[in-house]
Symmetry: C2
Subunit: 590 residues, 2 copies
Amino acid sequence: MRELLDFLLFDWLKVETLCARPRFAEHSRETFSAVLDTCERIARERFAPLNRLVDAQEPQFDGQRVTLPEGVGAALAAYVESGMLAAAQDMDAGGMQLPCTVEMAGNAFFSKASVGLSAYAMLTSGNANLLMAHGTPRQREVFARRELAGEWFGTMCLSEPQAGSSLSDITTRAELDDAADPLGPRYCLRGHKMWISGGEHELTPNIVHLVLAKIPGPDGKLVPGTRGISLFIVPKWRVDAQGQLTGVRNDVQLAGLNHKLGYRGTTNCLLNFGEREGAVGYLVGQPGEGLKCMFHMMNEARIGVGTGAVMLGMAGYEASLEYARQRPQGRAMGPAGKDAAAPQIPIIEHADVRRMLLAQKSYVEGGLALELYCARLVDELRTGDAAAAQALLDVLIPIAKSWPSEWCLEANSLAIQVLGGYGYTRDFPVEQYWRDNRLNMIHEGTHGIQALDLLGRKVVQQGGASLAALAAHVQATVERAMPSDWAPQAKQLAAALAQLGAATQQAWRTGEPAEALANAVPYLQAFGHTVVAWLWLDVALASPGNTAAAQGRQAAARYFFAYELPKTAAWLDVVARRESVCRDMRPDWF
Amino acid sequence: MRELLDFLLFDWLKVETLCARPRFAEHSRETFSAVLDTCERIARERFAPLNRLVDAQEPQFDGQRVTLPEGVGAALAAYVESGMLAAAQDMDAGGMQLPCTVEMAGNAFFSKASVGLSAYAMLTSGNANLLMAHGTPRQREVFARRELAGEWFGTMCLSEPQAGSSLSDITTRAELDDAADPLGPRYCLRGHKMWISGGEHELTPNIVHLVLAKIPGPDGKLVPGTRGISLFIVPKWRVDAQGQLTGVRNDVQLAGLNHKLGYRGTTNCLLNFGEREGAVGYLVGQPGEGLKCMFHMMNEARIGVGTGAVMLGMAGYEASLEYARQRPQGRAMGPAGKDAAAPQIPIIEHADVRRMLLAQKSYVEGGLALELYCARLVDELRTGDAAAAQALLDVLIPIAKSWPSEWCLEANSLAIQVLGGYGYTRDFPVEQYWRDNRLNMIHEGTHGIQALDLLGRKVVQQGGASLAALAAHVQATVERAMPSDWAPQAKQLAAALAQLGAATQQAWRTGEPAEALANAVPYLQAFGHTVVAWLWLDVALASPGNTAAAQGRQAAARYFFAYELPKTAAWLDVVARRESVCRDMRPDWF
């Protein structure tokens, strides 16, 4: 994977050109490479050996304490030592001031080695970055800086048992206690938060929960909708004005651990806030702007989830490739069939096994290109042409989140299939990757939510400006490809893009959201395949020559155009004619 | 599900017309219904309550004995009492002389309630039926009759650690000891058998292994290929000439249990034969005809696996449907978007949730129609127009095995998605169904093997006679549909069928197996979708009217034609142009 990563970062995305910008002026290709080296090594030495263990020994709760398997704390300490928690932060805040692209690439090694362990770090980093952007100076000092140093870990508390996708329905209440607390306006919180990853553990002496809650109006009622949502810091253990632990437990209790299909290395919790005296929370930002603050970090969070999905796919691809090279079974298909007396061949020699490996390669390497491309846009957003980057990110983020969640899961299923019966056992890692990856279509906005965001909002906003911006980029790649051997693929991509644009128009022709959005998921799928085809064409153009790596990328690109892109026609067909069979279906007909 | 089953059996397949045939003359719709009632009740009362337990407490081996969870023995005893082990056997052999169609329908309830428990029964029944067909009278009396009575359970021992899909490479040896043993020519077996379901347990006082092994030639060498394979009865405990247990253990040892992703209710074993004095085995049928005997039961075995996949899909569909009807979340999409102050609605009201439910319905009910249609053909094979039935079964059996393995697995993934985070936990059953179902693309001939069988053999044999027979049946449904509201779907199906036929021709145009078969799996997928579209159209034509059930079936049929059948174009495209990217890929390019 490292060779691919270097190719994508340096040859394709040319990240070292970012060093010409003031923010990254202290960096060079060498410092970027050193970061990748460190991440690769720690991930291999400290995370990977624990990955099966954290699955087999899932977190236990005895009613008092949560127990994690031996070694988890040391592995995370090694991560902390790498400095990656503060990878993107300013150097004078103790950070490395790395581009987002390099940060994502470095973290990819950890996701690949153990997605369940990585989550503690990713959540902490996201939490701290949010506070660095929206917190008061004291909140940054007391909470964010400790998180960036790995002293305390953090969480994001959004969902509630009765409110998952529908955040506007959260009922956690926050009532003002003291507007003048040095740590920020102090509130008393009461409510239940569900699906909280890293919500309880004893890895660090405190946990910084970022909690969405509603401040009741003068009538004591909660404001309907997302307008009423505010954001609070709720530490597990209370702190004094200087941020020192007081030894007093805040009123946040673990009600229970969720027992999951996969991703078991990460504790996942139902937390009760304020069952007794009320949980102390400090307002972050302005009242009613909680979602806005939370979504400030959304690009990175969704790229992070997408990268996690890609890396699970990559891990399965590598495991099944290694197996296919070594496992003898069956014989070559000659003009007269097979000769049973001939020696067996490694299964990688069978065309269908190569098909399963090429499919995986096209999904996981295409997915990695997608995530790094989006991360590169985040860097552009911060240090370059922000408006142009924002337009592209608007339509690409739902894809970065959803596409690998679906197709790198499919890659994991193919990895199992390559191993056959062995792949179905726990003696090989591929079944765990498949279980772990199944989460990614659910958390951080389900597939359905991403689809509504894309077709309901992003492609229509500002008269379709974001979609037009993407189309211009796709068109530019098409034009570069036309004079090359890739002309057939370029034409195919141009046609797919045109069909996507037409379907977008047709979906909204009647102006009825219910009609347009009934097929938002097939639209999302077609959009994703079109985007990844574009990136594969772009990567192929950047991979001329006859080296094995270049030939492999060219073959994966050809595979994607031959086997995958043609799938978009069927998806877009129902979108374009606003197929109503799902809308018309009545609950009692099932 | 019962209403659907009754509709398919009695209204669509008209199974009671079989009672006009001598073999089924003692039966009637009432006796068939009584069988279904019994199966439904025992499955619900005895199997379903254990399904999570057999997953959570997988079989344990302490080096001496295998332990299964409490209650498994009693549940299987209840199955035995139902008489279903001998459902298809002659009445004067203690059987029920039921049509295969009714047997499969009855067993479907058990697969749905607990696929892991059911496997012991299905394997025993298949084993016994094989012996009833190919064994000597004494073998039938001693082994098969005891299995049919549920006294002993049975297994099928085909694979070896080094030979899974490639059975021609098995190395288990059988050397003649006594040609005149009353139980059949007695051999001494030595070798290792892998993936043996039900290979060890203490549910019954003996286990009847049916073992494929090679008898060495005069030079002491094993004959290459499948020609050299013979079939043997190898009991776990030795028996005397009258079939009484002698108290002497045969030389068959459990080397270890496989620890699986799912399907954990069934022990899955590596068995060592003849590590000490050699395992006693009795030849079944003629030397060298072992595979032929084994494949005699192949139709039923593959329909059984397909039905199991369908039932896992059905179980997930029902669970997610129930959840979707009860779970409030979000609001209806009005012309002006959503009103956050309105009450929440059950998620079944959201078009995308209906899409996920309709997709599941179209997969699982279409899959059930497919399996029952094939079972009906098995009845035709035995008591009707055998040649016509054989032609259809030749091309339909690979589909009956593979299609539900893929698409009812997808149904299970959609069931998880409907439940969201809850679906990812072990508090709900849908994650287990998904894990259990993942086996079905692997065992009883992988997807790749089914695809080679279909495109490499079945559609080209006898000048394409089997494919032509299927096409004629599809065409007949198309013609019946043309004068109805279903004319658009009929035209669409006719076009898909024509494209399938053309792709078949194109694939073989050069006559090179390597070129034709490189895309055998996409061919299998397209073939499966075309077959299921045909069956949905046929089912829709048999479901006129405005009852909720009829409207539901009509909607599922419309869904399948709108969202699913169009997928075949992309699959067939690579087949027709003999796309070579996978064949051309070199191992070092990955």
